[in-house]
């Protein structure tokens, strides 16, 4: 393999030569993807610039997963253009995307649970030493580097030999992010990193997203939580039924507007109207007991819709 020891130069490369002129590293122009006669994604424009967080929002089935799979090299686009550094590309394996500096941190695919933290950190790009027949893992250097990189991202683990499956979900995400940053990622794709996490852990992950951005990476942050997106995002793209419903810079949009778009704008208005009606009916015409039963249910569903 040609990846031998190529990792550490890459790591420093990023900090030195990350383009600061704001040219997009990854750009989609009218890109789309069809699976047979199902059009999962159509006419999507997206650009990712260094030191910027581009948020892609959308409900389940909006085409977020298809979008990441195209950029990360798992699938190929069937229409439009996909440019990296201004050059049209078409990846056939994730390895090719990685070689271009595009790293993806999947929600559940990031790690091998039974393997130690340091082995996970270097999986696929192991450091080795010695001539070929006796070429072996440089375990000390890998452990040391993993520890340093994790500390740089603010993660402190004493026992790098523990299986990564014993870490909490947020910690695992952070290890995966630190790994991508170390291996010279210029663009980091995060697939719903906060979806399965509690409030506090989500905060930790958001902090590392900001840390990655400050190190000069372009971040694509996929989420269906507008609150999380608005905390770190510089640009917001909302997908709906496979097409781009909204594409706006942070200065052009407020959190309310984003939430509104996220929940499907007009649909949310209609829903609010219906809920108001239900509540109105309860309050005005029904006796107090049933009013108490219905109100929490209505409140609960509207709250979950808003955050989704």
């Amino acid at each position: 393999m040609t990846t031998t020891n190529g990792s550490s130069p890459n790591g420093t490369l990023v900090k030195d030569t990350a383009p600061q002129d704001g040219k997009p590293v990854v750009e989609l122009r009218g890109a789309g993807k069809s699976y047979g006669n199902i059009r999962a994604l159509h006419g999507v424009d997206l650009s990712v610039r260094p030191s910027q967080v581009t948020c892609v929002l959308g409900d389940n089935g909006a085409g977020k997963s298809t979008l990441i799979k195209i950029i990360s090299g798992l699938h190929q686009h069937t229409e439009g253009e996909f440019l990296v550094d201004g050059e049209p590309v078409r990846f056939s394996t994730p390895r090719e995307a990685l070689d271009k500096g595009i790293a993806t941190v999947y929600q559940d695919l990031a790690t091998v649970p039974l393997m130690p933290v340091w082995r996970n950190f270097f999986l696929g790009s192991e450091m080795t030493k010695g001539p070929w027949p006796l070429r072996r893992l440089d375990i000390d250097r890998m452990k040391k580097t993993a520890d340093e990189e994790l500390r740089n991202m603010g993660i402190v683990l004493d026992d790098l030999d523990q299986p990564i499956g014993t870490l909490s979900g947020g910690q695992r995400q952070c290890v995966a992010i630190a790994r991508a940053v170390y291996f010279g990622a210029r663009v980091l794709i995060l697939d719903e990193p906060t979806a399965a996490l509690g409030v506090k852990q989500s905060g930790v992950v958001l902090k590392y997203i900001a840390a990655a951005r400050d190190r000069g990476l372009g971040v694509i942050f996929i989420t269906h939580n507008p609150h999380h997106a608005y905390m770190v995002g510089d640009h917001f793209s909302v997908l709906r039924l496979g097409t781009l419903e909204l594409s706006a810079a942070r200065s052009e949009i407020t959190l309310e507007e984003l939430t509104n778009h996220m929940a499907g704008g007009a649909e949310l208005a209609a829903l609010k109207h219906e809920l108001a009606q239900v509540r109105g009916v309860d309050v005005e015409e029904l006796p107090e007991e049933s009013d108490l039963q219905v109100t929490p249910a209505a409140g609960g569903s509207s709250a979950s819709d808003a955050t989704r």
């Binding site: 393999m1 990846t3 990360s72 798992l74 994730p94 390895r95 990685l98 993806t104 999947y106 695919l109 990031a110 790690t111 091998v112 649970p113 039974l114 393997m115 082995r119 270097f122 999986l123 696929g124 790009s125 192991e126 080795t128 070429r135 072996r136 893992l137 375990i139 993660i155 402190v156 683990l157 004493d158 026992d159 030999d161 523990q162 299986p163 499956g165 014993t166 870490l167 909490s168 979900g169 947020g170 910690q171 399965a196 996490l197 509690g198 506090k200 852990q201 930790v204």
Partner: protein, 359 residues
Amino acid sequence: MTVTQATAPATSPSSPASPAAQRDGRTAQRSLGRRLLARPEVGALIAAVGVYVFFFAAAPAFREASALSTVLYQASVMGIMALPVALLMIGGEFDLSAGVAVTTSALTAAILSFQLSVNVWTGVVVALVVSLAVGAFNGWLLIKTGLPSFLVTLGSFLVLQGANLAVTKIFTSNVASDSISDMDGFDQAKTIFASEFSVGGVNVKITIIYWLVFAAAATWLLLRTKFGNWIFAVGGNKDSARAVGVPVNLTKIALFMGVGAGAWFVGMHLLFSFNTVQSGEGVGNEFLYIIAAVIGGCLLTGGYGSAIGPVIGAFIFGMVSQGIVYANWNPDWFKAFLGVMLLVAALVNLWVRRTATRR
């Protein structure tokens, strides 16, 4: 405990509560005992000591050095095959054709050398090529079809079993291959594959040495090389491994070819020990290899295990199969004993793993 201060432990089921002492955001070192227990082969080692003590007490003949040599020989023939089978299992796959593949390899060498009247080394080399090809075919079919390895190798098991019998009958009109003991190169090959030497008056078969050398090499491969890292990764989580750039298909095909290489080696040992091969042999041995790996702590679902484990597993197998004879019991009980051993070992492994990972 693995929980840092910044991350709440609530979402991690394996970490119930965080003691106040770890508030500084550092994780605690696991105790030495815990870390020792976390080794995959510890359960098997406990079982091996138990079985040894048991037969040492029950069978006086078992205590002699020659008995140990016999036990080790029995264990080595099976253990050499158990090693690649264990690696394959750590890589997340099975090979049910491993048992008959040994016979296929031996038959290929014997029939080819005899029919063409060439130096036996020609047969040995061709047998290696055939064995590796069978392994590569298993791996290729698995990757191309996406079928479970259980099904793919069950198919190749039946194909090889049938072909062993049919092809042997075509050439010899018999169920055994012709003896090759007087052919060119036989003595040389026998020295390499099936010789024995004396240590302090006890005859020791050379396969015991090979077995331990291969086990050491497999351990090194597994824990100290890039490829070993990939084996754990493809068995532990294939999709993750692929996503970070591990060549999953290459790793799996190489593991199947490793089983082929093991089958070739054992096949050559059997051929040069007995001069002839029974074409119906080997059926059922594939399960013994898997049993040795499982007793040795390899996880049936992949991603966890060691190369030392199947060595201990094979040693237990050797002790049980010979110990029953030395104790003058009815050898028919062997399989029953082995079944009990398998269940006990599996339970001990389960218990050990739970104890080790409980936090």
